[in-house]
Symmetry: C2
């Protein structure tokens, strides 16, 4: 097995949240070449004998301070030329996270800045990360009606209007309010809380996801 040339192997993480009424992607600004100054998905080299999901979890935490439980494998990218340093393949993961739980304090010299970027207004990206994000948004569309999964992008408590807006952005189409509410309740993963959200107008009931062990 030693006779074969080997590629560098990395993991990249597409982390998505719902913040300020919009879908946002977690990006870091690279401090060093290649692509110094450009924005990129958090990620890095897999360590020897490290499970891939663990590597993704670790890199995400090192670079952004974000701790995530459920990473889902998305796709593996290995096209020639995707990394200017040479032959490299990357396993991409997708995670939905609550933005309020995130401090975003990285501990990595290679990172200049960390930011939740609006998913539909992205800066120029390093490597082939545009492709990775395309795949991820596609996956999001396909799984939008898995409410228990989608809801992970929301804070612990949220209004039904927020949930609906998230659902519409993820799925790529608008839906009727009453139909949505009926459908959402029927999914059986919502729990009404006593709390209300007070704001500009009529207060809204807050809901949370039923914890699924």
């Amino acid at each position: 097995m030693t006779e074969h040339e080997r590629p560098a192997v990395t993991v990249d993480v597409f982390a998505l949240t719902f913040l300020e009424n919009d879908l946002r992607v977690l990006l870091i600004q690279r401090a060093r070449p290649p692509h110094a100054g450009h924005w990129a998905l958090p990620g890095g080299f897999v360590e020897p004998h490290e499970p891939l999901a663990k590597a993704a979890e670790r890199e995400l935490f090192e670079e952004t301070g974000l701790k995530v439980n459920r990473l889902e494998q998305l796709h593996t990218f290995g096209d020639p030329g995707r990394d200017p340093r040479g032959w490299a393949i990357s396993i991409a993961f997708i995670a939905l996270v609550a933005a309020d739980a995130a401090r975003l304090i990285g501990d990595d010299e290679e990172v200049m800045a960390i930011q939740w970027h609006p998913a539909h207004d992205l800066p120029p990206l390093a490597f082939d990360h545009v492709q990775i994000i395309d795949h991820a948004m596609q996956r999001l569309r396909e799984r939008a009606d898995d409410l228990a999964w989608l809801g992970q992008a929301l804070p612990a408590r949220f209004t039904l209007s927020e949930l609906q807006r998230l659902y519409e952005l993820a799925g790529g189409q608008e839906v009727d309010k009453r139909n949505f509410r009926r459908w959402a309740f029927a999914q059986g993963c919502l729990e009404k809380t006593e709390a209300m959200r007070y704001g500009d107008h009529r207060p809204a009931h807050l809901y949370r996801l039923k914890s699924v062990p």
Copy 2:
């Protein structure tokens, strides 16, 4: 980038067909260690700067003589210990192929035998290939009602009963004949041919998939 230890990177192909009224998986018998004598999915090392799908296509052809156009990426496996030779990750692909188009004449000294194995009666397998097959069968269940995709496992012309049997095996549940036919036609990917299949009993009309460019 040179300072990192690198894993061996391979591809494996789960090729499925519908043969003798049953789902069958293409397996090769390994001629050399590790796991000499055991059956395994076709696959092998990715060559430097080779696109992953190309590598899978090439390895499948070298080991089994099977040419396949549409390989779909399935999942990437990288758990420690999955290869006794050391750190290795594998990108698994899934392909549905018509068995009649397959000659199964490999050109590889490492392969002792090639066979379409009944998917529900598999021999002991090398590496973590049981896991890969589990994932693949899961994917099959999820996509069973994509008829244009599923139909690739059939020969160029087939009867509706064959299609239904394939559908039931893939999806894991039986369906009513009349309902299935109505639904299958409604998918819009079937074309009736003039030909009939003559056999033990009343002849059956043959259908084919509409070619999707």
